[in-house]
């Protein structure tokens, strides 16, 4: 049985940052800097193999055991509720899951609230907690457009600086939950590669909470 640690990294800025942290913690893989279109990178000496995947897919790779650990945003974990261990808050990629809408928006409860979002489960759970009936509109991108063109009343989305919102005359109205990147692990891998994964987790923790 192959005892390499398989790590699913999200493509993009968060993945780059997470990789730097892993590199500094003793899990380097210089091949990752080569400018090519490869998706897997291996360093047998350090005992790691990295995959670059779409950020929203990291949890799928980890839950199904193709990767032993991965770095995923809390937003993805809340939305898909994968059956994984959430080992560490990496305290990076920080942002907030918010309800946003026109600055002067007032929910008058006279109609069903129309909510556009990439995160239907989070939106549904939040509004059912408020006992507010909503009509969900599932979009895949440019969520901010929805209230501008009358597609929805508000949106539920990730807000980092709020710049896109303000430039479009929108504002965050309510914060649902703070978001940051998390280190997740497959539950079965954690039994059978436990020592290696715990060591990696401890190294990462030192980097996060020095």
């Amino acid at each position: 049985m192959n005892k390499m640690i398989n790590v699913a990294l999200p493509k993009g800025r968060l993945g780059d940052k997470a990789y730097k942290m892993l590199e500094a913690s003793g899990y380097p893989c210089p091949a990752i800097y080569e400018d090519n279109r490869k998706l897997t990178f291996e360093n047998p000496e350090a005992g790691v193999r990295y995959f670059l995947v779409k950020p929203s897919d990291v949890a799928v790779y980890v839950e199904r055991g193709a990767a032993d650990i991965g770095i995923a945003g809390k937003d993805i974990l809340l939305e898909y509720k994968p059956d994984v261990y959430e080992l560490l808050d990496l305290k990076m990629g920080r942002c907030r899951m918010c309800v946003a809408g026109p600055k002067d928006f007032h929910d008058d409860h006279a109609h069903t609230l129309r909510v556009a979002t990439k995160f239907p489960n989070i939106a549904r759970a939040y509004y059912s907690g408020l006992s507010r009936e909503i009509e969900l509109i599932h979009l895949n991108g440019s969520i901010e457009l929805a209230p501008l063109v009358g597609l929805s009343d508000v949106i539920v989305d990730i807000v980092e600086t709020g710049k896109t919102l303000y430039e479009n005359g929108l504002a965050p109205l309510e914060e649902i939950v703070p978001i940051s990147a998390r280190l997740i692990a497959n539950k079965s891998s954690f039994k059978f590669k436990g020592d290696a994964l715990r060591t990696l987790c401890a190294c990462m923790e030192k980097a996060v909470n020095p």
Partner: protein, 370 residues
Amino acid sequence: MRKAGTQMNNLRADERISIALRTMYRQYGYLPYKVSKFEEYDLYMRNKAFLMSENVLAFSDMDGKLMALKPDVTLSIIKNTKDEGDQLKVCYAEQVYRVPRGAKGFKEIMQTGLEVIGAVDAYTMGEVLMLAARSLKAISEDYALDVADLGVVSGILAKENLTDAQRAQLIALISDKNLHGLAAQCASLGVGTDTANMLEKLVTVYGPFEETLAQYEAMALPEACGEALANLRAVLEMMKLCGVERMNLDFSVVNDMNYYNGLIFAGFIDGVPSSVLSGGRYDYLMQKMGRSAQAMGFAVYLDQLARQMDTRCGYDVDTLIVYDSHTPQKRIIEAAAKATADGMRVRVQRVGETAVRSREMIDLCGEGKA
């Protein structure tokens, strides 16, 4: 060499394991129990949280009654038992229908397991756990069986004034090994520092059964945890007598406290991404269903195993017999009969057809040509 066990070799890994498991359960006196594929929908609606997924395949019966294809076997078995006091030991192998976590549609899943309904004493608990460990071992030598006792968790939480929903939140965080989330949640719920520290221990202290249990026994846990710890100790001693290994004490297996109480466990196989076995004491479920008896059981889910464990062989049959228009039928029949009698899987095929993958080929072409 092939001849022995040929029948078993033709089965898929999950079918083979299912038969091996039922044979083992029968040896320990668990009687086979057959439940109907259909069940009243209402049964599942009343016990939604006990099910792994809330989705149930429903349909209307002839009289308009709403029925369901059963997503679980345990509820049906309890429903069909009388509250008489005698201990009932049953085992089953059934297809269940539900939406696996993260999936978008229903799946037919092979569930094999056993239940004890009636008085559950220390011996019975040990026997069930021993059979759980042996079930895993029958699947693969590389297994791990994680146990915990919910009594420890409820003992720690006993003096905190929490709602069921709040307790469920804390338990979910323990089961995710989410230390940072647990600390934040304890702070926001106003849980005492002592309690929060002990809950943290449930996340961080896990490992081989015996040494980990000793660590818990050495901690100053509340008195309310005493019974659960003694329970775990009794189970451990019995597992040692049975020669069961590869057991861990790990509180990430904790589950819904509305249904389960006491001992709870989950089994893993190296190479299979999620748990293949889960079980425990479910006296509370019995009470909810109006029964006074205690109960314990486990289920093994074989759906993931077929893919992981079926070793692909490079051929479809053992012997390929090829004939043409000249070959006398008698020759073909004789050749096929001889090969099957030798325990071979035989494919008889006219020359010119795309050949299936075979280990050996008998070419009868041209035989009988004048």
